[in-house]
């Protein structure tokens, strides 16, 4: 076995960076344990795991964004401690983050070289050299972007390119990429991979995070698999199959996760006609029928949440309209949407879904205030009765109903948001990332609930970035790419490949 290992698997002495038993706690939650990872010169290592498996925490520790609570880190074999991203950068570690970290008010060039501008006499910034350097980087990545254009208004894909250029702007020995390809098209991905392979030849180490298995098998030499906050497997890619990988990531059979039952499908509840919001989404049209679960899939930034917000009337579309049960909704009026029977569970639970300082009971019944009040006063006895009823139905784990909602765990918070909308007995429920950041147990309860609702004839529109969830739950999958619907797939047509192809815009024929 040992003599089979290529150079990058030999001995720990030549590792550029090594994490041993690193841990990280956020309050009572242990986000990372058994954090073992080694990056050697000339190695491209994949970091795999489901959402919430702890990949981002591990990356943030390596990047100096958060400090680990336990374990050791070695840089070139010597113990090291990063107090800030600046320290990590000094050690030669470059990071491409998943979430945009750009400065919208500044030019592309300045975004790339921020803090490391080329300077001339008197340390004055040499703008010509800066633009030449950045333009060179952009050309190397094969994109036609002008380095002096402001970043504000760039598409997600172009923003990602700027992020990549930023990471490549100095001679990194370690390049960490957190889903760099999520928003890129085929040729752009190919060019990025060419750059990565060049870096490998120059003896840099690359840590690559992606949900596309094919990419991982094409590009990587080794793999680290994480599950539930811990590193659970470390191997050569050549020794693994895609099935192995998935099994180690999930730790159980996929089919056991989503207990989807078929429900009788009735008349259309929601019909969306040519909805357009300039520069955000265009010409969106679809229907959701009673008893049907429709998933809106696509990459982050494709405009899915914006469509949902426009349907619910939070934002006013520039063109098109929405009908609920055949009646046209007034645009830009959430109250009208609620009266028509739409419930909306937003993406950001903490900011938009709950009032964190209010009690659990008040949060769960806030949509029913009108029905609960007598002469403008809310009867707290009936409020508590209603809240208790829903808490029991959703198996909410709480201490007291008048505790602030912020005391609950993420999964239980989400149940309160659900309770709040279920109490209105909606005809249509819109769920934006309903299971993001909640534990596996609660996740399947949320899924069970969705099926139950569909069974009772509620129309469900679900936005989800988790492919297994989309494939497991949806009767029909609508896919968006850069603000447009690029595919409509039936349950039998939808699979990992068809959805990802449509989500990245690689579709030859579009569905309506």
């Amino acid at each position: 076995m040992i003599d089979q290992k290529p150079s990058y698997l030999r001995g720990a002495a030549d590792a550029i960076v090594e994490l041993r038993d690193a841990t990280k706690d956020y309050g009572a939650v242990r986000a990372l344990r058994d954090g073992n990872l080694t990056l050697r010169p000339g190695e491209v290592r994949a970091l795999m795991g489901e959402n919430g498996a702890g990949k981002s925490t591990l990356v943030r520790v390596l990047a100096g964004v958060v400090r680990r609570d336990g374990g050791t880190m070695l840089v070139d074999g010597a113990p090291a401690d990063f107090h800030s991203p600046h320290d990590a950068r000094d050690a030669g570690i470059a990071v491409i983050y998943q979430e945009p970290t750009l400065f919208p008010d500044l030019s592309i060039a300045e975004n790339v070289v921020m803090g490391f501008h080329p300077v001339g006499g008197f340390k004055r910034i040499d703008r010509r050299a800066m633009h030449a350097q950045v333009q060179g980087l952009l050309d190397r990545l094969g994109v036609r972007l002008e380095s002096d254009r402001p970043v504000r208004g760039l598409s997600i894909a172009d923003q990602q390119i700027v992020e990549i250029a930023k990471a490549l702007s100095f001679d990194a020995r370690v390049l960490i990429m957190d889903e760099p390809t999520a928003a890129l098209s085929g040729p752009e991905v190919e060019r990025l991979f060419a750059v990565v392979r060049t870096l490998r030849e120059q003896d840099a180490a690359v840590l690559f995070i992606s949900h596309r298995l094919q990419e991982v098998f094409d590009l990587c030499d080794t793999v680290t698999v994480m599950r539930d906050g811990a590193v659970v497997h470390d191997a050569r890619i050549a020794d693994m199959t895609p099935d192995d990988m998935v099994r180690r990531m999930v730790g159980r059979e996929l089919s056991a996760l989503f207990p989807k039952q078929d429900a009788a499908v009735g008349d259309p509840v929601l019909t969306v006609h040519r909805l357009t919001r300039e520069g955000v989404f265009f010409d969106i049209g679809f229907a959701v029928r009673a008893g049907e679960i429709v998933a809106l899939a696509g990459l982050v930034g494709a405009g899915r949440s914006e469509v949902a917000r426009a349907i619910f009337g939070i934002e006013k579309p520039d063109a098109g309209h929405v009908e609920v049960a055949g009646r046209r909704l007034a645009p830009g009026r959430p109250l009208a949407a609620m009266r028509a029977g739409i419930g909306f569970v937003p993406e950001d639970r903490r900011q938009q879904g709950l009032v964190m300082d209010l009690s659990i009971a008040r949060n769960a019944t806030i949509t029913r205030m009108g029905a609960l009040s007598r002469l403008g006063l809310i009867a707290s006895a009936s409020e508590n009765r209603l809240a208790k009823e829903w808490a029991a139905r959703l198996q909410l784990k709480y201490h007291r109903l008048d505790d602030p909602a912020g005391f609950l765990s993420g999964g239980n918070q989400q149940k309160v948001v659900l309770a709040k909308w279920l109490a209105t007995e909606p005809k249509l429920l819109i769920l934006d990332e309903p299971t993001r950041g909640i534990d596996v147990g609660t996740k399947s309860e949320v899924h069970r609930l969705m099926c139950e609702l569909a069974g009772r004839g509620v129309a469900v529109l679900m936005i989800s970035s988790e492919l297994p969830e989309v494939l497991g739950m949806a009767d029909r999958v609508l896919v968006m790419h850069e603000g447009r619907l690029t595919a409509e797939l039936s349950r039998s047509e939808a699979n990992e490949e068809t959805v990802i192809r449509a989500a990245t815009g690689q579709v030859t024929e579009a569905a309506a």
Binding site: P85, T101, F103, E110, I125, R144, L154, S155, A510
Partner: protein
């Protein structure tokens, strides 16, 4: 609604890129040119109604009045750009003004550069306190500087103990700074121009200055890019304080008489000047030059309304309206540009 198999072979860069660039440049220029145009219009209209407005003495006063505000606005810009604010500049100016007057009336032979340096150092120390509370204390700048606004003013009252510094007790060499000219240009105006140019260049062409924009544009992004945000924000507050200290010394040189109320209410005028000059209150954009022009415009409006014998109430209302117009204009242009850029990049991608 058809989608091409190959996403976007990018169009030739020339046309699109050049247009985006021209647009960005245009927005930048239109802001400062707009102020210059408004200034010219204002002076012209006032001069037609009251020809004495453009006599040398009157214009000279205009420039002198705007000078101290321009220096303060330059300092305020450094702080505003980082998505913070310094409300204490008026109080810092008062403290430094009384300090300089008191020092010179007791030690008339002290070299003037020493007085200036001490005044700036006093202001910088005040700024350091603000900066430490904002960065290490993690208290919002609005709250911190609102507090120190009162604290510094209170110190000034304690220190002056109801007395005031009179022009007669100050050395002539010092007072001449506020009135003399070199080649017809008042010394005070020259100093303001130098300060604005130096600070403006620093913010425009040096790494530390550009990092202030990054911090204001995306604080978390700046941290991830390895910008030492705390240190930079601290520097911005110290510089703003130092410039307010300089403003205090110049205040004493110009007016001669100083008591504990010197510079009361200046902070709002200064912030108004910066905002009128195109500095975004939420950070990330704006220039020192714009802010200085804003100070000139505000000062001119006040003067012209006085010359036209408009009542004090209407003077204030006019400044308020101008401020709202400036903000509305920025918002409108911002939205337009963002929509245009968005459409353009959507076309490019689709």
């Amino acid at each position: 609604m058809s989608v091409a198999a190959d996403p976007a072979p990018t169009p030739p860069p020339g046309a699109e890129g050049a247009r985006a660039r021209r647009l960005a440049e245009w927005v930048f220029r239109v802001r400062e040119l707009g102020i210059v145009a408004a200034f010219a219009l204002l002076v012209a209209v006032t001069a037609i109604l009251e020809p004495r407005f453009i006599e040398t003495d009157s214009l000279r006063n205009l420039a002198l009045n705007a000078s101290i505000f321009a220096i303060l606005a330059a300092g305020q810009t450094l702080v505003l750009v980082t998505r913070n604010v310094d409300l204490s500049v008026g109080s810092v100016l008062g403290l430094s003004a009384y300090f300089a007057g008191d020092l010179l009336s007791k030690n008339g032979d002290l070299p003037l550069p020493v007085v200036f340096l001490l005044g700036i150092a006093l202001g910088a120390a005040c700024g350091l306190l603000n900066g430490i509370l904002v960065t290490w204390g993690q208290v919002p700048a609005l709250v911190v500087t609102l507090g120190t606004l009162y604290v510094f003013r209170g110190l000034a009252f304690l220190w002056t103990d109801g007395t005031q510094v009179n022009a007669e007790t100050l050395p002539d060499s010092f007072l001449n700074l506020g009135t003399d000219s070199i080649a017809g240009v008042p010394i005070l105006v020259i100093m303001a121009l130098v300060v604005v140019a130096v600070v403006g260049q620093w913010l425009r062409d040096f790494r530390a200055g550009r990092e202030l924009y990054a911090i204001g544009s995306n604080p978390e992004g700046a941290r991830l890019a390895g910008v030492r945000s705390e240190r930079r924000v601290l520097t911005a507050f110290v510089l703003a304080g130092g410039l307010a200290g300089l403003g205090g010394v110049l205040f004493t040189a110009r007016f001669g008489t100083v008591d504990a109320t010197a510079g009361v209410g200046y902070e709002l005028t200064v912030i108004a000047a910066a905002v009128v000059g195109g500095v975004a209150i939420f950070g990330g954009t704006g220039s020192v030059y714009g802010a200085a022009l804003g100070a000139l415009l505000l000062g001119t409006i006040t003067s012209s309304l006085i010359v036209l014998r408009v009542e004090a109430f209407w003077q204030m209302a006019a400044i308020g309206v101008l401020l709202l117009l400036a903000i509305a204009f920025d918002r409108l242009v911002g939205l337009r540009v963002e929509a245009a850029l968005r459409r353009r990049s959507a076309r490019r991608a689709g």
